[in-house]
Symmetry: C2
Subunit: 213 residues, 2 copies
């Protein structure tokens, strides 16, 4: 079986889920924690080496304050859950801004936890423009471009899986995703099922990797 | 009806089409010309203001020489066809490389033709890394980033439509596409049907534009 080395996860649909469940929008995020951990374990068992979770972005921070507070807390909780697994963990985002949760500062340097393992990147207060902000005449050498990204420690993404039905990247790692295959799950993220992941991997088998060639 | 301002077109599947038709792979590209012109007229009638066609990339130039020659010629022919319409035309790509067709050099400055009209951008010998190569510490200001792209005269893309079934951007305008909705048509590009475009526009109605917010 052909397994992607690196998958990107866009866990969308928490607010819609909350609304359907008769809750306040902000209450949806907490229901996205267990799916994130379940997915990590499935991915590890499948032999995937690197996972990047789309936590929250600087764009998202324009939402109502109670939602910002709620998704920020959910990301802190998610990272702490992941940190109890055997992973090599990195939190990537604009750590100098007030919207970056201070509790996650220790993880802005990659850290092997519980003996190390799957490379897990968690985007927190990330922005595509922040990612590109420091490019300094890299020239067309791909290695140089990638080295000058703020997200330079995140490798090329093979497969992006987005829950919640939207077919867009919403600013997710524009450089690392240039060649990524893009699989969309209609189900909302808090309703994550094992079969969503299995279908994404199954679909990925049928794709060829050409890197644009 | 909610109409995208700017659509990106990835006209994929020419070689597979040729194979199914019992032709040589390189013979497929010529069958992609009429669809391109048909689409331009449909888009104009729908009120779309800007279209970007993914012609060929520097990545593609690694293919067998007879294919490179064939897709290069098809792009020259396509641009000449488009140039007979009322458009504001710009060809964008690495014009200094030997793989850039010299016949298209006059269009590397935006030119109003036949009274001007739809903004049409045609990517020829384009590379995402070439596009980013000149960024000079833009900072996180989006306007600065976009201004420092080689493709700075191409605006944000609202909707990318890809023919040929693949669900990936393959290096298409990574910065302008960060928020783009992505519609995939399974049909191969030379088999383009009016309904493909109609379905893409119909689907686009159901999407909301949040720009990541």
């Amino acid at each position: 079986m052909r397994i992607p080395k690196h998958i990107g996860i866009i866990p969308d649909g928490n607010r819609r889920w909350a609304k359907y469940a008769g809750l306040q929008k902000k209450e949806g995020y907490a229901h996205g924690l267990k799916p994130g951990l379940d997915l990590l374990i499935l991915a590890k068992d499948a032999g995937i080496q690197e996972i990047t979770y789309y936590g929250f972005t600087t764009d998202n921070c324009g939402r109502p304050p109670e939602q910002v507070k709620a998704f920020s807390k959910a990301c802190v909780d998610a990272v702490n859950l992941i940190a109890s697994e055997p992973v090599s963990l990195l939190v990537v985002g604009d750590e100098d801004a007030s919207t970056f949760p201070k509790e996650l500062l220790p993880y802005t340097t990659r850290t092997d936890l519980n003996g190390g393992g799957t490379r897990v990147n968690f985007l927190v207060n990330y922005g595509w423009e922040w990612d590109l902000a420091g490019l300094d005449h890299p020239g067309r050498n791909r290695r140089n471009i990638c080295r000058e990204l703020h997200s330079h420690d995140i490798s090329r993404v093979d497969l992006v899986i987005r829950w919640g039905g939207m077919r867009r990247l919403s600013g997710f790692l524009p450089v690392q995703s240039v060649y990524a295959d893009f699989f969309v799950v209609d189900r909302l993220w808090p309703d994550f099922q094992v079969e969503d992941f299995a279908q994404a991997l199954q679909w990925y088998q049928e794709q060829d990797v050409t890197l644009g060639g």
